[in-house]
């Protein structure tokens, strides 16, 4: 198929970016979306032009590196699909495809389609862990965990840290990402002890690093490639509100 690409090009964080149009012929249906971009880059390089920079690594939907805003959709038009899992079968001959980086104040553009998501690490550092020193752990089966809780914790734990939830949200809120981690740990007996403190610290950090507020529009949930649910946010609100009350009482 022959397609037209409209791609955000930006030399570095400081430069101003702009859209550039590329015509790309002989795209095969069998390509993945990123293979299509590889193909584009090949043609650009052979013409002496600068290839389009984009993040990727596993190319199977598990590392969270990739993430493009495609035709107005975070990770493109398919559901429960990362950009690297998107196939060209979703497009047809003559299509025009607009490709942008994640847009959020908290994720500044580094180059072309690559953004800086290091604030996610900062939120994790604020409390996204269970304080279990190596060597101090009790025997693994000494604390049984009801299967339902373990399964729910797993469902919350599958976040790949891609940032699509933020990119899809008109407020640039990171609530889905943050709440998923808080829920995962709060559901496990190992993580319960620190649950409130964790929630308080992670949310405070999230506000500090420039993410917006959650107004429950739900766009995060529809674009999350791993199917994380707003119920995690509800759970987090619970943890957080009780955390606040406890904190206020003690001051």
């Amino acid at each position: 198929m022959n397609i037209t690409l409209e791609i955000w090009r930006q030399k570095d964080a400081k430069s101003k970016g702009k859209f550039v149009i590329y015509k790309l012929n002989d795209v095969s249906e069998e390509m993945s979306f990123l293979e299509m971009l590889d193909f584009l880059n090949n043609t650009l390089i052979s013409k002496g032009e600068s290839p389009v920079a984009f993040d990727h690594d596993c190319r199977e939907g598990i590392c969270g590196s990739c993430g493009l805003y495609i035709n107005g959709w975070a990770h493109g038009p398919a559901h429960l699909t990362t950009t690297c899992e998107l196939r060209m079968t979703k497009f047809k001959d003559g299509d025009k495809i607009t490709i942008e980086p994640w847009r959020s104040k908290a994720f500044p553009v580094i180059k072309d389609l690559i953004v800086d998501r290091s604030v996610f690490d900062k939120i994790m550092q604020a409390g996204g862990f269970i304080s279990a020193n190596s060597g101090a752990a009790p025997e693994a089966n000494s604390i049984p965990i009801p299967k339902d809780n373990a399964d729910a914790a797993f469902d919350a734990a599958v976040c790949i840290g891609c940032g699509a939830c933020v990119a899809a949200c008109k407020n640039s809120s990171a609530m889905l990402f943050v709440s998923a981690k808080i829920s995962q740990f709060a559901l496990l007996p190992q993580g319960k002890t620190e649950a409130k403190e964790r929630a308080r610290k992670m949310v405070a950090k999230m506000d500090e690093v420039g993410f917006g507020n959650c107004t429950n529009t739900g766009s995060c949930e529809t674009r999350c490639p791993k199917g994380l649910k707003l119920t995690h946010i509800a759970k987090m609100n619970r943890e957080f509100i009780t955390a606040k009350i406890v904190a206020e009482k003690s001051t």
Partner: protein, 639 residues
């Protein structure tokens, strides 16, 4: 000549680690804060090490090429992680796990290291559970186990098909805690380009800041490499596409011996290549072989759709050839059997390079729901990529490059032949001999990172407490930085026509054809010439766009391809040297009349350790004899 000594502690196998732990030197807490550790690679091995070392009080500077440690290739591990808990009461024990790993590795691994890996496996599971890893559980609330990859006990812990991701996230969160405490400093988007050795000791690294292009110096009292495997040598492999050998290769050129470089595992169940643009192959976890049945048509070139081929015209060749293990034979056996059928003309699919993995019978017996519970996400992944629905038609699979058993040679302390340089995780050679058993790598990576390195590194650092902070002004840093810059300039200046990826693909094809699933002398010799010619062409016709002073993914790739040429030639030399078949290394000259691998224990019971003597010079071979005192050498038979 570089000397090496495995430093295996005295005493009976079962006591060695305890004895060693009792006798290693310790560093007191106040002194730990004066010691800096450079840690390159923050996958499962590196992240686990970072959190443990940070907790102990060392200052850790950690590096990775992704934008955050959470994306390391370890995320991709699907199937599980082994431990000898014996929760199933099915006769498992530390000894049996040890034995299975030794036997699975076809008696080409060091007994003492493997026993220790099995020994710490239980503690590792405890640690991961405490860190919040949501392993699968039974309705009782206790941890679930499954049987995985060619063993007859159920000792594999798993988190659906995302075990690696969950283990890595557990280790990563522990590491983030240490970052918050100021004990670990994370340098992401850095590519390690060289190792700095001062007076025979590893003292630092040279990195390229992948965002700015800046060349940086980082110093420490010792250096740990946890940089993963180099299965990407084949270009198409199950690894993340950024995986590379460059950090290990830089260390090798500075004096770290490289062990068993040609031992690369080819995984039997990957989605076959679909087109020429493809950038990677996607693994279908081998846990699928617990319920899926592998077959090809009995008739050559049978073009009928899978479901139109009647039962009696299907050849379930693994069940036929290996009645005792059937579809659960180890990876190397399953891979070669698939290749054998396809080479003989029985392969299916457009290219004839694939075989069926069929769930029809399992669905009939257990119901769709049960199969969905076990493999739902894998079926979905398969459907997304191929457009075929495995609930209705059999999957098509083919072997793919997957895991490097070979790696930097390390002693019992995980130290390489450069003093103060350690290698952990897939980057070293230590535990898996000629073939790795499923779920054994996560076990090794986390065990080494959490529990082994933190002990053994102290033994070395105890003598470094008087060494002041290492300065990056030392002439060795200067020299290394200069060399790195010259190499980059050289790559940028070629200004030819072909991209780094083009060369990588071409190199990968040579290696896959001649140094992949089956090898023979003529092919290997031919491959050596082809690789040398391609390398010459590379230095004449490479094209790297843009400049070195900015984010430049083409330059990153070009640098990695340079080192792939180095390891490719060494792999070939190693494969040529080992005229036996063992584990993943199948020399066609060494097989039994019915086509099974023939090990030649009398001649090749050693670790092949290679010393670098300079560009364009063949490596020198050293041998570490393998002594088996605690297992009886057996032919690996799965019949």
């Amino acid at each position: 000549m570089i000397k090496f000594d495995a430093k295996i502690p005295e005493g009976p196998l079962t006591e060695k680690w305890s004895i060693h732990k009792r006798s290693v030197k310790l560093v007191n807490p106040a002194n730990k804060t004066k010691l800096d550790i450079i840690l390159v690679g923050t996958g499962l091995a590196g992240a686990a090490a970072a959190s443990s070392l940070g907790e102990l009080g060392y200052n850790v500077k950690a590096f990775c090429f992704q934008d955050t440690p959470r994306r390391a290739h370890s995320v991709a591990a699907q199937g599980g992680i082994n431990a000898a808990k014996n929760y199933r009461n099915d006769g498992d024990s530390v000894y049996r796990l040890f034995y299975d790993v030794i036997k699975g590795g076809d008696f080409r691994a060091r007994e003492a290291n493997v026993y220790r890996a099995a020994e710490v496996s239980n503690q590792t599971i405890d640690q991961l559970v405490a860190a919040g890893v949501p392993f699968a559980r039974e309705y009782s609330g206790y941890l679930d186990n499954r049987s995985f990859g060619g063993v007859q006990v159920s000792r594999t812990f798993y988190a659906k098909g995302q075990t690696g991701q969950q283990c890595l996230l557990g280790a990563y969160s522990g590491m983030m805690r240490q970052v918050a405490k100021g004990k670990v400093t994370m340098y992401s988007r850095r590519d390690m380009l060289d190792l700095v050795v001062i007076d025979g000791k590893a003292r630092g690294i040279i990195t390229r800041n992948l965002v700015t292009g800046e060349i940086e110096r980082h110093a420490g009292h010792c250096v740990v490499l946890a940089t993963g495997g180099y299965g990407t040598i084949y270009y198409l492999s199950t690894l993340a596409v950024g995986s590379n050998v460059s950090a290990a290769w830089a260390a090798h050129k500075k004096g770290a011996l490289f062990a068993n470089p040609s031992f690369i595992q080819i995984h039997p169940t990957s989605i076959p290549q679909l087109n020429d643009y493809q950038a990677k192959l996607t693994l279908m976890s081998e846990s699928l072989r617990n319920d899926g049945r592998i077959w090809v048509p009995k008739k050559k070139g049978d073009a009928r759709a899978a479901n139109d081929i009647p039962e009696d015209e299907r050849d379930y060749y693994l069940e036929r050839r290996y009645p005792a293990f059937g579809n659960l034979v180890p990876r190397d056996v399953a891979s070669r059997a698939a290749k054998e059928r396809c080479d003989a003309g029985y392969g299916v699919g457009k290219t004839g390079l694939s075989v069926y993995l069929d769930f029809k019978d399992a669905i009939k017996k257990q119901g769709k729901k049960a199969i969905e519970n076990k493999y739902g996400n894998l079926f979905e992944l398969y459907y997304k990529i191929t457009g075929d629905n495995p609930y209705e038609v059999p999957m098509r699979i083919y072997p793919a490059g997957h895991y490097t058993m070979g790696g930097l040679w390390v002693d019992y302390n995980l130290m390489t032949t450069i003093e103060g340089l350690y290698a952990i995780g897939e980057a070293n050679f230590s535990d898996h001999g000629a073939n790795r058993l499923g779920a054994g790598s996560l076990m090794q990576c986390s065990g080494e990172g959490y529990f082994i390195l933190p002990v053994t590194i102290g033994d070395y650092l105890a003598d470094e407490i008087k060494t002041p902070r290492i300065s990056t002004d030392h002439p060795e840093f200067e020299k290394a930085e200069k060399e790195v810059k010259e190499k980059i300039d050289k790559l940028m200046a070629i200004n030819g026509k072909q991209t780094p990826t083009t060369f990588h693909k071409r190199l990968g094809k040579i290696m896959w054809d001649y140094c992949g699933m089956a090898r023979n002398e003529k092919g290997l010799q031919k491959a050596m010439i082809m690789v040398q010619e391609l390398e010459e062409e590379f230095w004449k016709d490479l094209k790297v766009s843009d400049s070195a002073k900015e984010l430049n993914q083409e330059l990153e790739k070009a640098g990695h391809v340079v080192d792939f040429f180095g390891i490719a030639k060494l792999m070939i030399q190693d494969a040529l040297n080992r005229k036996e078949s063992c584990g993943a290394h199948f020399r066609e000259e060494s097989q039994t009349p019915d086509g099974e691998a023939k090990r030649i224990h009398s001649e090749y019971s050693y670790v092949a350790i290679w010393e670098y003597l300079g560009e364009d010079k063949p490596h020198t071979l050293h041998k570490e004899p393998l002594v088996f005192e605690n297992v009886e050498l057996k032919e690996r038979s799965y019949k």
